[in-house]
């Protein structure tokens, strides 16, 4: 292939990927058309307008593709490195690579950027917000800009490092994921202790003795009741046919009922 990708090509792909990679998400092709859209100008330069090679590659790139929105350019970079060298002969390699990489990358990208980061930052921001402090939101925005910078750098990194990247990053990422999940679990523990503000208001009378249940619970361990609630919901979520939405509604109904009966209060 004669065309060699330049700085401005990477800029264009990054711009398109960052803003619009999932605008076309649909049930049939998922991110397929998004993939074609992000690299269309570069494909045209590489294969030339109106050639049958270009049409062949365009058709290939609209096929089903679905990975984490945060790391999609890692696949794109490797893909372009191959296409630049092999051209249309690399079609099958590229297709195999796309399908092979989208799964593992989805797992890594979604767990770090789609779940852990929102958990930790969301917990902090929500905690501050409930006290009326918007600082946590700003903090999150700043962290997001950091993520954008990272996403911007990924394309060239993977283009240059090509296939070796997939193997070298693995160790690094598993150590990082391990540490991050630890932090996540720790933070959930901390949040259970502060963010669920509900008390037992039930005070049974035995003869002329009134038992203050909440006081007794506090003597065992402060915040034990919220921990028990989380435990029960956790157990409930392990049941068959239970979704998070159903769980939310069950908690809603049970809370209202117990509050009406005077068992729990704010």
């Amino acid at each position: 292939m004669s065309y060699k990708l330049e700085k401005k090509d990477f800029k264009q792909i990054n711009r398109r990927s960052l803003i619009a990679f999932q605008f076309g998400w649909n049930y049939e092709r998922m991110q397929g058309s998004g993939y074609l859209y992000t690299i269309l100008p570069q494909l045209r330069k590489m294969y030339g307008d109106g050639t049958k090679e270009l049409k062949e590659m365009m058709k290939m790139h609209t096929q089903v593709f679905n990975t984490s929105n945060f790391v999609n350019t890692l696949v794109t970079g490797i893909d372009l490195a191959i296409e630049e060298k092999e051209g249309v002969r690399g079609k099958e390699t590229v297709q195999g690579l796309k399908v092979g990489l989208m799964g593992p990358f989805a797992a890594i990208g979604d767990s770090i950027f789609g779940s852990l980061l929102p958990t930790i930052l969301g917990a902090l921001a929500a905690n501050m917000a409930i006290e009326g402090n918007p600082l946590g939101c700003i903090l999150w925005l700043a962290a997001s800009i950091g993520v954008m910078v990272l996403r911007w750098k990924m394309l060239e990194l993977s283009y240059r490092e090509g296939v070796t990247l997939v193997t070298t990053m693995q160790h690094k990422l598993s150590a990082l994921t391990d540490a991050a999940t630890l932090l996540g679990v720790f933070m959930v523990g901390a949040l259970i202790a502060t963010m669920i503000n509900v008390k037992v208001s039930w005070a049974p009378q035995i003869g002329d003795l009134t038992i203050n249940v909440q006081n007794n619970l506090d003597m065992i361990l402060p915040r034990l009741f919220p921990a028990m609630i989380v435990g029960v919901v956790y157990w409930m979520l392990g049941k068959k046919n239970m979704t998070s939405t159903i769980a939310i509604f069950i908690v809603l109904v049970v809370s209202v009922a117990l509050s009406a009966l005077g068992v729990i209060s704010k």
Partner: protein, 306 residues
């Protein structure tokens, strides 16, 4: 007080924008806390907005969207709950349980509809590929953003325009005949974060890190109690003793997070060392911006000095 037309329009625009932000640039403006802050600003009560947004954020803490599955739309729920709470004078925690959660789960259907509509554009793109019409491909692709935008903007607009009266009636009933239900919804609002945490624990490797769950919980539970009681004493002292100006703050959550971060850092170093310790030098890989730099740290290992 009602919701003015300009407020409806701004909230509608935000509701449409946030999903595009969430899908693309991910600036965090599409998170429920931000939704609360922004709708709070538009409605003129930032405190209520932050409370609803923050609580909603905790409720969906563990709900991620993986592989294109639809999740409950906490943002649209937050926007509507904040608007109605401030506009019609509903208690924020009631609005959270009575409006934000039901709206958020109803909006799942709109998410599915949005994704479905885009299939239409995908087929148009196929046709344009056949014709080699590059502009057409790009145009049809970007049109997909409209189905996303409308899937959130349209319901929010309709609800804000026509829902006011209904919500107004609900508020009257909840503070009158059905006071038990109103109070119950407030309590439910306080319990809902528990679901978020439980979902999250289902997703995280709890069994592996169970010790840290206990640690995080107990440290925070004890400190919260201590800080809370000190604050209480301080408040009472200030009421009794003239000129008493002790400044007692509540437990800073960032401090707890930093403890967690320190432990995580230790774990990271440990698991990194496990993989690459070779003789007397520790090889450490660092991702510095766009480059994988392999660093050789020569010299003594700390353990040797002891």
């Amino acid at each position: 007080m009602t919701i003015a037309l300009w407020q409806i329009l701004l909230l509608t625009l935000y509701a449409g924008y946030q999903i595009l932000d969430d899908l693309g640039i991910w600036s965090s403006l599409a998170q429920p806390v931000w939704a609360g802050l922004i709708s709070g600003l538009i409605m003129g009560d930032v405190g209520a907005g932050l409370l609803i947004g923050g609580s909603m954020q905790l409720t969906v803490l563990g709900v991620g969207t993986f592989g294109g599955a639809s999740k409950i739309d906490a943002n649209s729920g937050t926007v509507l709950a904040t608007a109605f709470s401030v506009g019609l004078g509903m208690e924020p925690e009631q609005a959270l349980a009575a409006i934000a959660v039901p709206v958020a789960s109803l909006m799942i259907q709109m998410d599915i509809l949005g994704r479905f509509c885009n299939t239409f554009f995908a087929h148009r793109i196929d046709a344009k590929v056949e014709e080699m019409d590059y502009r057409g491909i790009e145009r049809n692709y970007l049109m997909g953003s409209m189905s996303w935008f409308l899937s959130r903007a349209l319901p929010v607009f309709l609800a804000l325009t026509f829902g006011g009266e209904v919500v107004d009636k609900i508020v009257t009933v909840l503070n009158g005949d059905l006071k038990w239900l109103g109070d119950g919804l407030s309590v439910a609002g306080a319990v809902l974060p528990a679901v978020g945490f439980a979902i999250l624990l289902r997703y995280l490797p709890v069994k592996k890190h169970f010790a840290y769950l206990i640690l995080g919980f107990v440290v925070t539970a004890l400190l919260t109690t201590v800080f809370g009681n000190v604050q209480l004493i301080g408040g009472n002292m200030a009421g009794l003793v003239e000129g008493f100006t002790g400044n007692f703050i509540s437990l800073p959550m960032l401090a707890i997070a930093l403890i967690g971060f320190a432990i995580a850092l230790l774990q990271y170093k440990r698991s990194g060392a496990d993989l690459t310790t070779t003789g007397s030098s520790v090889v450490r890989e660092e991702v510095l911006g766009n480059n994988v730099v392999t660093k050789q740290e020569e010299g003594e290992i700390l353990e040797d000095e002891l």
